[in-house]
């Protein structure tokens, strides 16, 4: 029953998408298109029904549906049954479709009759939706019925919903890694909200190109969409890192894995776009560059999905190879070639005057930001695909490890920090020396003082010192500016600051994100640059052992068994300078098919102690111990970056932007 209804829901959404695409795009020829409420409603309604039905099937253990039989089981905890809806390929595409449907529905409410730009943009979203729901109706059908049941799971399945005759008694259950932590239920939807949200600026950009209206209207109308999508993408990437840190036990949160890179690439171009679009809205420059950025951003989201789903890379994120790979690659080619071809055919319409008067200005700083972001994107992109190209060309397999990415990203990030410090308080159009000294002397003083103090206190890590100075320099100018501007107002200092921050949310949201970047940089310099690792430490029971500046003691073991897994872990007391830090509880989780070494993490204001269990018996344990200084700053900094985006999002559109 669910299979029949689900298939109908997918087909209804597909029909809505086709209708939306045809009707929306017909406005290009000048035809007046009536409201697109109905097709957008079909698309949204179909996708909601589809996801709802899949959830009902998952929660009721309906193993007659192949997806459910192969990715859930009766003993899966409720939350992870729910999250299994996007735990594997077909379901994750359905989630993508659901977010697209939501986007189409929300956008449609802002598009009135005669609004050609909006109508055609909805048509573009229709085209993207046709692709995703087309995949669900063909090679990635989440509602295929099981036609041949194994003892556990489904062996063969059919897309014809009435073909079903078999339902295994038990399902295979989700991958153990995916039912280990609540973050795994949140990380993918966040990423998808980010990825799919970036469809909005893309759709409006393509619409503007199709209609030969290369003005700033498309950018102004999608600025808040871009902000929201970017904030979600930031949170999604961050949660992925957090999950990796808390669950995987390899001792880190970012490994420059191809799929991590694939989510980082659109984030970089979207960040560049958020900055350069401001230049266009305020100064009319970078018109064509913004088209390139927005097309590149959307193309990179599709490319990232292709990398994850195609099996052409080896990574902890790879799904099993399937026919969606070539389809996604084809769609990527279509986006790039059609998008840039369209851009090329309209390029002669784009006026580039007025140009930049002086590089010593806000727009000059943002140009530097865009240059660095572009170089960074290209470096990470080439580093990610280089092994694939080499293998295709020469047949030899090479790998590019974190070393390459760290060596190239480090300098870029340092220059970016410097550019943030200077750029965020530089006036538009042109600056002069006195203003810059006024705004930067005190921050420079604070930053250098912080570095000098750290050196006197014994910080002997050169890279960490440099990052510290630059991060403080990036963080302080807006604070100094805020205090000075508030002091010049009639209200008290506190309420003056509050008024400033409340009234110009666009600007101060950006400053909050910059503060987040500075905190994040400190966190990375500490946790990655100054980490201490001690591997294979044997701890006899009840015997304190000094390691990595701490004393740790194996006090007792614990076990825990449920339907899914057998957990064996150790209570390890950690003390530092004879003060108790806490009891870490690293464990080995045996899922039968796979053993996951979940670390025990003790988070503190100065450092995290991170213990991974290697082996355990009643007499002793063997552990790997890592100490990550300032680890919490990575999480707090990352969330501040996203929070800044959210704060900017709450700003009402300024009059200037409406006029543009």
């Amino acid at each position: 029953m669910i299979a029949v209804l689900g298939t109908v829901a997918v087909l209804v959404a597909l029909a809505g998408a086709i209708w939306l695409a045809v009707a929306g795009l017909s406005a290009v020829s000048g035809r007046t298109v009536p409201s697109l409420r109905t097709p957008a409603g079909l698309l949204f309604g179909g996708s909601v029904a589809g996801m709802g039905l899949l959830e009902v099937g998952l929660l009721t253990d309906d193993f007659s549906i192949a997806y459910i039989a192969n990715h859930s089981s009766t003993s899966t905890p409720l939350l992870f049954k729910f999250a299994s809806a996007w735990g594997a390929l077909e379901g994750s595409i359905l989630l993508w479709g659901l977010v697209l449907g939501l986007l189409a529905w929300l956008l449609q409410r802002r598009v009135g009759e005669g609004d050609r730009l909006g109508t055609v943009a909805l048509g573009v979203i229709g085209v993207v939706s046709v692709f995703f729901f087309g995949m669900m109706a063909s090679v990635a059908n989440p509602f295929e019925v099981c036609t041949s049941a194994g003892t556990v799971g489904c062996l063969e399945s059919s897309a014809w919903p009435f073909a079903g005759s078999a339902a295994p008694g038990e399902g295979r259950g989700p991958n153990p890694l995916l039912q280990n932590h609540i973050l795994m239920a949140i990380h993918p939807p966040m990423l998808y909200l980010g990825y799919v949200g970036l469809t909005a600026p893309f759709a409006f950009a393509i619409s503007a190109l199709l209609l030969a209206q290369p003005g700033a209207a498309w950018a102004a109308r999608t600025r808040r969409w871009t902000l929201a999508a970017w904030a979600f993408l930031t949170v999604g990437i961050l949660l992925g890192g957090w999950w990796s840190y808390e669950v995987l036990g390899w001792g880190g949160y970012w490994g420059w894995d191809p799929v991590e890179n694939a989510s980082f690439l659109p984030w970089l171009t979207a960040t560049a776009f958020l900055h350069s679009v401001v230049v266009q809205l305020r100064r009319g420059v970078l018109q064509s560059w913004n088209f390139v950025l927005v097309i590149a951003t959307f193309a990179l989201t599709i490319f990232g999905t292709f990398l994850t789903r195609s099996g052409s890379i080896t990574s902890v994120h790879s799904f099993t190879q399937s026919a969606v790979g070539p389809l996604l690659l084809g769609f990527f080619v279509l986006v790039v070639v059609a998008g840039l071809g369209l851009f090329a055919s309209r390029a002669h319409l784009m006026a580039e005057r007025p140009r930049v008067e002086s590089f010593a200005s806000r727009e000059g700083a943002i140009l530097l930001n865009n240059l660095l972001m572009t170089v960074w994107t290209a470096t990470v992109l080439v580093g990610t695909v280089y092994p694939i190209l080499v293998e295709a060309l020469t047949g030899s397999t090479i790998g590019i490890g974190a070393g390459f990415f760290e060596a190239t990203s480090g300098p870029i990030a340092l220059v970016l920090l410097l550019a943030i410090g200077v750029g965020q308080v530089t006036p538009w159009k042109a600056s002069n020396r006195d203003v810059m000294i006024e705004r930067l002397l005190v921050p420079a003083l604070i930053a250098v003082a912080a570095g000098a103090l750290a050196a006197i206190l014994g910080l002997r890590d050169r890279a960490a010192l440099v990052v510290l100075v630059l991060a403080v320099f990036a963080a302080t100018p807006p604070i100094v500016l805020l205090v000075r501007q508030a002091a010049a107002r009639p209200e008290s200092l506190g309420s003056g600051m509050r008024l400033l921050v409340m009234n110009d949310r666009g600007y101060w949201g950006g400053m909050l994100s910059h503060l987040g970047v500075a905190v994040l940089a400190l966190g990375i310099a500490g946790s990655a640059g100054m980490a201490i690792h001690a591997d294979d430490i044997t701890l006899p029971i009840d015997e304190p052992v000094p390691v990595a500046g701490h004393v740790i003691e194996y006090q007792s073991g614990f076990t825990d068994t449920d339907d899914q897994r057998r957990v064996v872990g150790a209570n390890i007391e950690v003390t530092r300078s004879s003060a108790t830090v806490g009891t870490a509880r690293p464990a080995l989780q045996d899922y039968g098919t796979q053993v996951i070494a979940t670390p025990g993490v003790l988070t503190g204001p100065v450092r995290d102690v991170f213990i991974v269990l290697r082996s355990i018996d009643s007499a002793q344990v063997v552990v790997d111990v890592s100490v990550f200084p300032l680890q919490w700053m990575v999480w707090v900094g990352g969330f501040l970056v996203a929070a800044g985006g959210a704060w900017s999002f709450t700003a009402r559109r300024s009059r200037r932007e409406v006029a543009a």
């Binding site: 490994g255 064509s288 990574s315 790879s318 090329a344 390029a347 790998g399 870029i412």
Partner: protein, 327 residues
């Protein structure tokens, strides 16, 4: 002096302190970690030796430390591994034409970007003339990028069409037993050979690897190769558990080859060496049952039923055999 002057003075003074701090800072880099991050673990999916927790990666990490202690430079250590495992072990792009291009690419793009940006500057007002709309420049940009992407995609498609082995949904390396499966027998054999005579790898560690390899031969039915590995294990200071595993399996191979008496003896030795070897006990039961010596199998079966390490799904079979043995 004005406040501004004091600020400049303070800045200069503090900057001097900072420069002192930077000069005296010692780079606390861990050379072993740096090398381990630049070498890929041979049995993992794209993980470095530093990140992997597999046994091979652990012993390679130990080997890096030994070489560095022996006075090898980081570069020489990398070359040592490259000579034994081939260039694909290196995670840093090799310095061939493509590799050099890769390393210089960020600089090239940055230089190109600077040139483009410098041209954005407004010329002196008097020189501003109406530029006729032109297609050429930016059209070429669009076409150029499209062409580059198309070529890239063609290569990606090429590599995609050579499918990799299907794996579980997630093919990461989180526990040694799983990732060993992704390695060919030859690689595993070579890896073991590269550790022979290595003072940092104990014979017992080597035996562990040999048993893993032998198990594959054993399960694939290549009893000759399996026997060779088991014999080597028995000759190289095995732990009781290792010796017992090897003896038990050799016993089974003998039995399959029709030498029941020798098989029985080997299996008996296996149990004498390590009483917890449920597998050998199970093999012995099968040997005895085959010869209708049920009464001798009964105590063994009872021991197996009490053994928590015996898989639960074997229980019904064991119970049935116990019935038969008693009858």
């Amino acid at each position: 002096m004005t406040a501004r002057r004091w600020q400049w003075l303070a800045l200069a003074g503090l900057a001097l302190v900072l420069v002192w701090g930077l000069v005296v800072a010692d780079a606390p880099a861990d050379p072993a970690l740096a090398v381990a991050e630049a070498i890929s673990c041979p049995v993992c999916d794209g993980e470095s030796v530093a990140a992997s927790q597999s046994e091979i990666a652990e012993s390679m990490y130990a080997q890096i430390g030994t070489l560095l202690d022996a006075g090898y430079t980081e570069r020489e250590t990398l070359e040592w591994f490259e000579a034994r495992y081939g260039p694909e072990i290196l995670l840093e792009p090799p310095l061939d034409v493509g590799g050099i291009l890769l390393w210089t690419l960020p600089l090239l793009i940055a230089a190109g970007g600077v040139i483009v940006i410098l041209r954005l500057r407004r010329p002196v007002a008097a020189e501003v003339t109406a530029e006729p709309p032109t297609r050429s420049g930016r059209s070429l940009l669009g076409i150029g990028i499209s062409a580059v992407v198309l070529v890239g995609v063609a290569f990606a498609l090429g590599s995609f069409l050579e499918p990799r082995a299907d794996g579980s949904p997630i093919t990461g390396q989180f526990d040694a037993p799983t990732d060993l499966e992704s390695v060919s027998d030859e690689t595993l054999a070579l890896t073991i050979a590269s550790f022979e005579g290595d003072p940092d790898v104990s014979p017992q560690q080597l035996n562990g690897m040999r048993l893993a390899l032998a198990e594959r031969y054993f399960e694939a039915g290549d009893y000759r190769s399996a026997t060779e590995e088991f014999t080597t294990v028995l000759e190289s200071e095995p732990t009781p558990a290792q010796a017992s595993e090897a003896l038990g399996r050799v016993g089974w191979i003998l039995y399959v080859n029709g030498e029941s008496a020798a098989a029985e003896e080997a299996l008996g030795q296996a149990l004498d060496t390590f009483d917890g070897n449920g597998e050998a006990r199970y093999f012995l039961v099968l040997v005895l049952m085959e010869q209708d010596r049920g009464s001798e199998a009964v105590p063994l079966l009872e021991a197996l039923l009490d053994d928590p390490s015996v898989p639960a799904d074997l229980q019904p079979d064991l119970l049935a055999m116990l019935e038969a043995a008693k009858a």
